[in-house]
């Protein structure tokens, strides 16, 4: 029974990772560059919710929207500083830029918000549903539901709307997209903002799930998102979502078997092993 509970915890946590990874996959797909600022965007989203709760009371849904907007705005800044100039330059230039940006945002947040851990409010009064002896928290169900809804919305947006079609075109081939009359610059910016916004929402869910926010929370979260995205095959949304959940489940089952200090070890060992066996990621196409 203990394992089943851990499995549910894993799925819940994994779904947060999945949302982060989806955001990352959108950014990577559209911009075509690796970013290390993503963790800090997650952190910014989380902090915006923290201050939203203080200013306007505990409304989770509105906070999610506020977090999306804040993270998207930070995304615009990141885009202007780190990507726009370097889209055609060697890739490592923008990568180093994102490392610098991540350092900047992290330390700015430490100075502005203070380095101590801050508590998030509890939602749904810690209620849970009992199925036999297993407990499933309301919050866990809500988190999984939010992630599923956002994923479906994103898929619809990408598949059905004209803007989504443009985003897909740009992520497939920038030059060809420009040839058929798509404004590549604007589209890249919008794609980056959507990805960052999703990251911000995921950051809020993470903060609410653990009841805490920290300026340094972004580092590990960003790495998990990056790992899940690479594991799922670069830029594949479905792949990223599935590998996010896999990472979450493996972590929690690993903790159940050993000690909780080794949580992150499992994620990275899994990552290295899978890349060793399948260099193109779990759902990637060969030859990429």
């Amino acid at each position: 029974m203990y394992f089943l509970e851990q499995l549910i915890n894993g799925i819940c946590q994994g779904s947060i990772y999945a949302l982060m990874a989806i955001g990352y996959a959108v950014i990577y797909g559209v911009v075509g560059l690796v970013t290390f600022t993503y963790g800090e965007i997650i952190m910014m989203g989380s902090f915006s919710a923290f201050y939203y709760f203080i200013a306007f009371g505990n409304n989770l849904w509105m906070a999610l929207i506020a977090g999306f907007i804040t993270a998207a705005l930070v995304g615009v800044v990141v885009h202007k500083v780190c990507y726009q100039r370097f889209l055609d330059a060697p890739r490592y230039i923008s990568l180093i830029c994102t490392i610098g940006m991540s350092m900047f945002l992290k330390n700015l947040a430490t100075i502005l918000f203070g380095s101590e851990m801050k508590g998030m409010p509890t939602f749904f009064g810690g209620k849970f549903i009992s199925i036999g002896t297993i407990r499933v928290g309301y919050l866990q169900l809500i988190i999984i539901a939010v992630v599923i809804i956002l994923t479906v919305l994103l898929t619809i947006y990408l598949k059905k709307t004209r803007m989504g079609m443009r985003l897909r075109a740009v992520s497939q081939d920038k030059k060809a997209a420009a040839l058929v009359g798509i404004n590549v610059k604007t589209t890249t910016l919008i794609g980056n903002c959507i990805g960052c916004g999703l990251g911000g929402v995921a950051g809020i869910l993470l903060g609410v799930y653990y009841n805490s926010v920290l300026p340094t929370m972004g580092g590990m979260a960003g790495l998990k998102a990056f790992s899940a995205m690479v594991l799922g095959g670069l830029g594949s949304i479905v792949g990223s979502a599935i590998s996010g959940v896999i990472i979450g489940v493996v972590e929690n089952l690993g903790i159940a078997l050993t000690s909780s200090g080794l949580r992150d070890v499992f994620a990275f060992v899994l990552l290295v092993l899978i890349l060793f066996i399948r260099p193109q990621g779990l759902f990637g196409k060969k030859g990429n």
């Binding site: 490592y92 330390n107 100075i111 070890v265």
Partner: protein
């Protein structure tokens, strides 16, 4: 201006090198303050670390972003074995060799991987090493770290003071730069550079990519291990929080700011970065903001690094210029200056 300095240097190479070395040897006699000296020792540590990363990133074009993992292995190897009573002088080399072996193991999967996947494996490796060091309390002291690492004997003196330890580090820095220089100008170094430029072309010319890539990783890892091993007796205390990913990024930034793929680049980068962060130490937390701004503005203004040539492909400006030249040639106009 930087190009002019470089020309002056290449014209009088031997004089500059001898004068530089003499100045380095005389340095502890000129500086009395121990705190200033320990900053200089720290700069020298980073010269070794950045140079070793430059071997991997700059010369063979592999993208290693988890260099802190190698440094960690070197430092912990020395600290653990020193507590068993091994002589420190031997341990510097042993730590390097152990790290090189680990480097080979990391290089195994990377032979199949490229670009972002390789970056991610090195990143994962670095974090795994840190977390293992944090959790394997029996061997590494876990979150408590390892305390009381002994310093080596040096001409009958225990070299704990920065003024004495400086010479040990300087000795290794000189060897590191010299071996790097020799290797880079040998067949091996040319093979690395051919892999960096175009691995398919290198393969078609008969370069054994797998062999040279693993040699490259082992060489880089060896010096990272020696660098880490040098750090441990100086600080007398190590714990896993000294080797986070941010530390790896820090080393990477030095390489990039100094100039990838040049021998002096990492030296310049290490000096510039460490001096900037030390000068702004009064600004406390904002110090890292300054560093971050330095990194970003460097990428905007001089992406090839301080020591990199402006003719490099990486320099945006020269691309634009060469494109203009090409266009003007094609259209039969005069060359644009």
């Amino acid at each position: 201006m930087i190009d002019r300095i470089k020309k002056l240097y290449t014209d009088n190479k031997t004089i500059f090198l001898i004068a530089g070395l003499a100045a380095m040897i005389a340095l502890p006699f000129l500086i009395v303050k121990g705190s200033v000296m320990s900053i200089i020792v720290k700069i020298l540590f980073y010269v070794i670390l950045a140079s070793s990363l430059n071997i991997i990133n700059g010369y063979s074009g592999q993208f290693n972003i988890g260099h802190a993992g190698f440094v960690l292995i070197g430092a912990y190897t020395l600290a653990i074995l020193a507590n068993f009573g091994w002589p420190i002088w031997v341990l510097y080399i042993v730590a390097g060799i152990v790290t090189a072996i680990i480097g080979f193991l990391v290089a195994l999967p990377t032979l199949r991987l490229r670009g972002i996947y390789l970056a991610l494996v090195t990143l994962g490796f670095s974090e795994i090493m840190r977390l293992v060091a944090l959790n394997w309390t029996a061997l590494t002291g876990g979150p408590m770290g390892i305390k009381g690492i002994p310093s080596p004997w040096f001409f009958g003196l225990r070299s704990t003071a920065p003024h004495n330890y400086y010479y040990i580090v300087l000795f290794f820095v000189v060897i590191c730069l010299f071996t790097s220089y020799r290797v880079i100008n040998s067949k091996v170094g040319r093979a690395w550079m051919s892999i960096r430029e175009d691995d398919h072309a290198a393969m078609s010319l008969g370069v054994d990519i797998r062999k040279y890539k693993s040699i490259n990783f082992m060489f880089g890892a060896f010096w990272a291990g020696v660098g880490g091993a040098l750090m441990a007796p100086f600080y007398k205390f190590i714990d896993s929080s000294m080797f986070t990913l941010d530390e790896g990024f820090n080393i990477l930034s030095m390489v990039i700011i100094g100039g990838q793929g040049t021998l002096v680049g990492p030296v310049v980068g290490s000096v510039v970065v460490n001096l900037t962060t030390e000068i702004f130490r009064f600004a406390d937390e904002a110090r890292l903001l300054v560093y971050a701004v330095l990194i970003i503005s460097m990428m905007w203004l001089r992406p090839q690094g301080l020591a990199g040539t402006s003719k490099s492909v990486i320099a945006n400006r020269s691309i634009r210029k060469s494109k203009q030249v090409l266009l003007s040639k094609l259209s039969g106009k005069k060359e644009v200056k």
